[in-house]
Amino acid sequence: MKGLLLALALLPGAAAAEEPVSGYAYMAPETRTLQDDDFENPGMLWVDIGQRLWAAPAATGGSCADCHGDVAGMHGVGTAYPKWNPAEGRIVSLEQQINLCRTTRQGESAFPYSSDDLNGITALVMLQSRGLPMDVAIDGPAAPAYARGKAYYETRRGQLNLSCVNCHVDSAGLRLKGEVVSQGQVNGFPIYRQLWQDIGSVGRMIAWCNDSVRAEPLAEGSQMAVELELYLRARGKGLLIETPAVRR
């Protein structure tokens, strides 16, 4: 009896605890080839932009490279974002950390969200962690943010009245018209998305998903979006970073 109860208790949890699968596994072979080739991968166009910005002198005279050295030194940095920032007293995404660096240390204005510059430098930094497992901290001061992100993920919203869970947990692997629903993992962000013919951050993807269920889109860079990203990254803990990934 006790065993049966335990088994029943495990059932609903089984879906949530299932092995994370990268969006790569859901892509057509042509799309995978595009991602795997570092020349053909269109995301690399933005990495090039990031590379130029890394060496570009800022208002104070210093460039990113002056403090951080060669960008290869950022190996592993991207795995931990979004991350608790004690000075700000909140969770910050990698995009926001880059902009904080620009405004506080370089005396420059922040790059706007979804700009080629911000996506480029984010992709460059994330690329240095390619092949490393995502590993964000969700304990200590980050715990309440993680809980809020999880609650958002599980809440039904929009005219279609769907939560993220309805598609990306309950229906992952099933078909939605011609496409297979993925787990919605974010290990490849910023991604080059063929639908957009452009690069996009997690924030842009969240807003797009909101729009797709006819809900009010979360503004990119809003605290809720960053906390949701924290939840998404924690959910895919252990998945290898693929930035810049190519998705449909």
Binding site: P42, D48, Q197
Partner: protein
């Protein structure tokens, strides 16, 4: 000038066929899409792509609005002598973007 990526092998044997790759960052708006406020995004495309080797035109492509963003071309070139391989993209407004690499023939 748009952001470009080119790949030309540094060295090649005489008579060898080498792979050349070139990509340009461009939206290639086809004129059939709309902004979120319902306005048509006008056609904005690259119209010509040319590759010259040793000052001789080896490839010319005319691009049309049906192409997706960031057009990428890959083709093979017969290595003859050491010289520059240059690329030129022209958009519909006449803006020229160039890139160049030297192919050393051994």
């Amino acid at each position: 000038m748009f952001n470009t990526r080119i790949k030309v092998p540094q060295t090649a044997a005489k008579g060898e066929s080498v792979e050349i790759r070139a990509m340009i960052m461009h939206p290639m708006d086809n004129g059939f899409t709309y902004t979120t406020s319902g306005e048509v995004i006008p056609v904005n495309i690259i119209t010509d792509f040319t590759c010259t080797y040793m000052d001789e035109e080896v490839l010319h492509i005319t691009l049309e609005p049906g192409l997706s963003a960031n057009p990428y071309f890959s083709f093979r070139l017969r290595a003859g002598a050491t010289g520059p391989v240059s690329f030129k993209w022209v958009d519909q407004f006449g803006t020229v973007t160039t890139a160049e690499a030297v192919l050393t023939v051994t």
